[in-house]
């Protein structure tokens, strides 16, 4: 079902945890969607994300996507990081099952929410965030139902 890389990031997720005095925090999803991701960012004066931590409630894909996304984000400037798409996450993971694609959207959204928090706190403006609504659900699940 999942490839080795996904399983590795699920079992040994990188950057799990909390940052004590974060530059920004973002949380997306809700329990009725089945997954929630919370991202903590530490951003330095050059706008570089020097540290990132996450907590995720969700399935294997959600956790693995969260983990790999933080690895990809860490060390980037905020603007670079905001270019991250769920497609990049998917590619880096080497793919997810079709019904799980939506999980890769989570990290992209959570990052945006955290940067928005940072922007709000600092008064900065990131054009990449224009139009971003942190509470947009991601109800693009498939419709497969299995039961036995």
């Amino acid at each position: 079902m999942y490839n080795d890389k996904v399983m590795d990031h699920f079992m040994n997720p990188r950057n799990v945890g909390v940052i004590e005095n974060p530059s920004g925090v973002g949380e997306v999803g809700n329990v009725s969607c089945g997954d929630i991701m919370k991202i903590y960012l530490l951003i330095d004066d050059n706008d570089v994300i020097v540290d990132i931590k996450f907590k995720t409630f969700g399935c294997g894909s959600a956790i693995a996507s969260s983990s790999i996304a933080t690895v990809m984000i860490k060390g980037k400037t905020v603007s670079e990081a905001l270019k991250l798409t769920n497609k990049d996450v998917l590619d880096e993971l080497g793919g997810l099952p079709a019904v799980k694609i939506h999980c890769s959207v989570l990290a992209e959204q959570a990052l945006k929410a955290a940067v928005l928090d940072y922007a709000n706190k600092t008064g900065k403006h990131y054009p990449e965030l224009d139009g971003f609504e942190p509470d947009d659900g991601h109800d693009d699940h498939g419709l497969v139902q299995i039961e036995f």
Binding site: C59, G60, D139, L143, E147, F148
Partner: protein, 394 residues
């Protein structure tokens, strides 16, 4: 790595002695039961032996058993064939069922609704039991069938089948029960229980997959669902799946012989497993009826974590389980059964079903009990939901 299978409600391994009964019928004794020659006659005789064994398991007569390709086909057949026949002949078009049926019933009912039938889906209480007063109140002039499952596949709850049968009989309504999870796990006597039709499946009782049966009480009209040759007294066409039918028969025989022992053993292991988890993990609820339940079924909801993540974590340490979480199935909604119990998403998403069976050992349970708290804790440590309550509540 040792693999521990705790998903007996999903499917069971075929027992060695059952497979052995089947083997000759693949290669040497491979005849088509409809053939007149010796190959055919031998096959036919064995199919009828199997029919007797299956009948005996539920207290039915041999002539009341029709073999199918599994529980799903039996459910489809019982509902659809009866529905159209009843509408054509008696102008009746109302079915009563429950909200926690298997999809083989629910999706069939939905299809019937689209075609103009009326379906009442009974609510269940927090244990997953239907209310008999609700049932009585939902009966109407045009009700032709009550279809209520015997044992729920997710939470294991056993319905008050005898009382349902009585109500059905008093009202002159057919009573069908999906007994796929019940057969071989609870005592069943179709006469005592006033059951008119009963669906079963071989692969849940240590027989092969792809074969099941529909019990149809003598005198109950049943038109075919699959048309073609004259097999199964012209009720179910298609070359008989001889080796699998033989395996199903053997499985039924063994199930009947072992029934009390099986129930005792499973109940013991189930309680041990359930208690072990409940006593060592916080924020868990135990679903289903505390006593009236499938002897091997443990269904739990763990707060703050998600079901598939638990399944994967268990799988990595060699434990096979199941979950009704939405993410497991890639579906938008978590288990309709858990939802019908009135549980919120914060519970249903963290559901886990562990079902023990004849090959489960006490050591298996010990192993799971050792691993489970670690797995739960690891996932909770990652969860933003747990973070919030960790300080105060734990």
């Amino acid at each position: 790595m040792k693999r521990i299978y705790l998903d007996y409600s999903a499917t069971t391994p075929v027992k060695k002695e059952i497979l052995e009964e089947m083997l000759p019928y693949f290669t040497e004794k491979f005849g088509n039961p409809s053939s007149i020659h010796k190959f055919g006659r031998d096959a036919k005789a064995k199919v009828n032996e199997a029919r007797e064994k299956v009948a005996k398991l539920i207290g039915a007569n041999v002539n009341e058993i029709y073999f199918t390709a599994g529980g799903t086909e039996s459910d489809n057949w019982a509902l659809k064939a009866t529905a159209y026949d009843m509408r054509n002949r008696n102008k009746k078009n109302h079915i009563i069922t429950s909200k926690i049926e298997h999809h083989a019933i629910l999706h069939t009912c939905e299809v019937l609704e689209k075609d103009g039938f009326e379906v009442t889906y009974l609510d269940v209480d927090k244990y997953g039991s239907i209310n008999l007063e609700d049932l009585k109140n939902s009966i109407k002039e045009n009700t032709f069938m009550i279809s209520i499952m015997f044992v729920n596949n997710e939470i294991g709850t056993i319905q008050p089948v005898k009382e349902i049968g009585k109500i059905a009989k008093e009202n002159g309504i057919l009573f069908h029960t999906d007994a796929v999870q019940a057969v071989g796990n609870v005592h069943i006597d179709v006469n005592d229980l006033n059951i008119d039709m009963l669906s079963m499946s071989s692969h849940k009782i240590y027989g092969p997959k792809g074969v099941g049966a529909l019990f149809v009480r003598k005198g109950t009209r049943i038109t075919p669902f699959i048309h073609g040759g004259a097999q199964e007294k012209q009720r179910r066409a298609g070359t008989e799946n001889v080796p699998s039918i033989i395996g199903f028969g053997k499985a039924a025989e063994i199930a009947l012989e072992n029934l009390d022992m099986h129930i005792d053993k499973l109940t013991y292991l189930r309680e041990k497993l359930k208690d072990g988890i409940m006593n060592n993990v916080s924020h868990v609820i135990y679903n289903g009826h505390p006593e009236k339940r499938h002897p091997g079924n443990v269904n739990l909801c763990f707060q703050f974590i998600e079901g598939e993540a638990m399944l994967l974590s268990l799988d990595i340490v060699g434990v096979a389980a199941s979950s009704g979480s939405a993410c497991t199935s890639g579906s938008l909604d978590p288990s309709h059964v858990l939802m019908a119990l009135g549980l919120g998403h914060e519970y249903t998403n963290g559901s886990l079903r562990l079902t023990v069976g004849d090959f489960t050992t006490e050591e298996d349970i010990d192993y799971v009990l050792e691993k489970m708290p670690v797995i739960i804790d690891r996932l909770r440590q990652m969860s933003p939901l747990y973070e919030q309550i960790e300080g105060g509540n734990n």
